[in-house]
Amino acid sequence: MSYQPIRFYQTGTFTVGNRLLPEAQRSVQSGRERTNSLNSGHRACQGCGEALGARYAIDAAMAATNRQLVAANATGCLEVFSTPYPETSWQIPWIHSLFGNAAAVGTGIAAALRVQGKRDVRVVAQGGDGGTTDIGFGCLSGMFERNDDVLYICYDNEAYMNTGVQRSSATPPAARTNTTMPVGESTGARFGQGKNLPLIAMAHEIPYVATATVAELRDLEAKVRRAMEFRGARYIHVLVPCPLGWGHGSAETIKMARLAQETALFPVFEAEHGEVTNVSKIRRQLPVENYLKPQTRFAHLFKPPGHADLVARIQALADRNVQRFGLVGDAEDAQ
């Protein structure tokens, strides 16, 4: 099939333009062979970033493993909206045990498969940011340090959305949640708190760590495929905006994810064995206001008289990411 080389940014998105690409470069999701692992009919909210991310990630993992995949799922939105008994959206073998143990259940599945000699069957464990960075962190760190053969995918929407928007250790500073309300002297979630799980994962020196967003779904697919080329513990952290918790339009999920990346608030990179190996460059870093203003969780920063000082602190965090990861560069360098 003939095709013309394109520059991705010309299309405005990495998800379209498949017709211009050779078959091998087309997204899994655009293919007729896609597995619909997380099938339609589930009960996620309109515009749910997590449903989108999970669908792409798991379909990509299915494609990468020749459909030999088992998934363990932490309690949370993804679990609740996909499996209200007796319905299930999962077209793959899937187990939900508890909120805080998805990584350990994944370890158990991997151990059983090894004993059974099923080396071709691979394991994904997945959860939201609460199930990953907070309550499931012990099990996750244990799975990492033992280098168990599990790909863990965190769908990060930056708070406990399933229980009604409470702060997690992935909630960004100044964000309004129902446990970090900007009332009285408070200005939302505190600065200087929270954890950066991709960096913590890298500190375990596991074979592969990557971040991704639902704005670049081909990139997410590629990272899942790359992760499946390794044996051992792997971690992918996907930013998945939540219209309900972030307070943006349900049609703006992808836009929010792209703004998070283009403001440098969410660095997109890959690391192998503890070293950064690839960074998604930003062509032109946007001011953080562009990202913050459309979200009601940051509305208090802009209500008169406003909190210019806090916006400046958030900008400083973004600028630090630029320095730390070398985010700004020629778009030609972008993958």
Partner: protein, 417 residues
């Protein structure tokens, strides 16, 4: 083959004979020797194919077992005390999912105050979690119950907890008759899971269940435990045929046929109780013993039948429902056809306090002479407690409780009563 081995070693060897596939463990006394022995055997390749996972917590241990069992592997872990509580959420989950995991609980007290010695507080705290709970009287039975446990668990798709007294059994060297691999293989068929995570036949396990079916799911667990009441005696009989010795079953009766007083207990203390009863029988007292091997499911009919001729029942238990009294006592009362005020609870041996024949004899004689209180704390130093209460009455900042009691006692040593 007869062997003189530590209880933990005997159990480890029994587990090894059951061909486990995934063993996960987190160290906690007094369970450690069991998994250490198994770990060595896995590392030496003696149990291949078998994976030994050194997990980071008991919560992870049970979670790894859940994942392994749901993938069709025979999964085993062991814990005790705080470890059982730390994994409690996953313990309930394993039962709710219907996964046939076998776990040894080397019974130990629960803190605070921290205490490593034996009582039954840990296992009994999980009595309603949906696991079968079997209590071993001695190391031979501990070994045998594990073999029966895998078969029960896998037949019913329910997890089974084998409880053995920490230190008293786990660390005691006793003679045991170790079965052969051929015997175990003939008794325990390979694991055929009812549900399995398999890409060739994908299922969702652990979906959310609302009010429309939750009652039925819970009742199903209850119904399966009722099935266990039939299976346990039947398989104990089969065990006797294959292995040539009686072991397991629901309850053990000892000199009960003409007994006026029957003492009910769980675990290794039955040995001391039987010695005391033998002594008193020699003197003409009509007293017998009912050992509870299967605590969950509660063998209500077997207990009722065993106790029906007794004038008084003494339940001696190493557990305490704080604010209420006995846990085992409460269960026994529910199954006693006579007047409930004829059931006496004696709380004994908490935190490893020695239970001596002398002390037992004292309460048994009180039962025989109708002078035993409904609730007794064996060898309790009431004066010590009164001093604490008095201190708290006169002084607001009365200080840390355990430290105050130890200071009053003046010595830090095992109290033998």
């Amino acid at each position: 083959m007869l062997k003189q081995v530590e209880g933990s070693a005997a159990v480890a060897e029994a587990i090894a004979l059951c061909r486990p596939q995934v063993i996960c463990a987190y160290p906690i006394s007094p369970q450690t020797h069991i998994v250490e022995a198994l770990g060595r055997r896995v590392d030496a390749g003696e149990l291949a194919p078998c994976e030994f996972v050194n997990v980071e917590s008991e919560f992870a241990a049970m979670s790894v077992a859940i994942g392994a069992s749901a993938t069709g592997a025979r999964a085993y872990t062991a814990t005790a005390s705080q470890g059982l509580l730390f994994m409690a959420e996953a313990v309930y989950n394993a039962a709710g999912l219907g996964l046939p995991i076998v776990m040894t609980v080397a019974n130990r007290a629960i803190g605070a105050p921290i205490n490593i010695w034996n009582d039954h507080t840990d296992a009994l705290s999980q009595r309603d979690c949906g696991w079968l709970q079997l209590f071993a009287e001695d190391n031979q039975e501990a070994l045998d119950l594990h073999i029966q446990a895998f078969r029960l668990a896998e037949e019913l798709s329910l997890p089974v907890m084998v409880c053995m007294d920490g230190f008293i059994l786990t660390h005691a060297y006793e003679r045991v008759d170790m079965p052969t691999q051929a015997q175990v293989d003939s008794y325990l068929p390979p694991y055929e899971p009812r549900q399995v995570l398999d890409p060739a036949d994908p299922v969702s396990i652990g979906a959310m269940v609302g009010p429309e079916a939750f009652m039925e799911v819970r009742y199903l667990a209850h119904a399966k435990q009722q099935q266990a009441l039939e299976l346990i005696p039947a398989w104990a009989d089969e065990f006797r045929r294959v292995f040539g010795r009686p072991s397991g079953g629901l309850v053990h009766e000892y000199r009960t046929s003409d007994a006026d007083v029957i003492v009910v207990a769980l675990g290794s203390v039955l040995g001391t109780i039987k010695d005391t009863v033998d002594m008193m029988r020699d003197e003409g007292f009509r007293i017998g013993v009912l050992g509870i091997t299967c605590f969950r499911p509660w063998p209500s009919v077997a207990v009722r039948n065993a106790l029906q001729r007794a004038k008084r029942v003494v339940v001696l238990e190493k557990s305490l429902a704080v604010g209420m009294g006995g846990i085992v006592g409460n269960n026994v009362s529910a199954s006693f056809s006579g007047s409930p005020d004829r059931v006496h609870t004696v709380i004994a041996g908490l935190g490893g306090r020695s239970i001596t024949r002398g002390s037992l004899r004292r309460v048994f004689e009180q039962a025989l002479t109708d002078s035993l209180e409904p609730l007794t704390f064996l060898d309790l130093d009431r004066a010590l407690v009164d001093r604490v209460l008095e201190r708290e009455r006169v002084q607001r900042r009365s200080g840390p409780i355990a430290e105050g009691i130890l200071k009053d006692l003046g010595v830090v040593a095992a109290k033998t009563g």
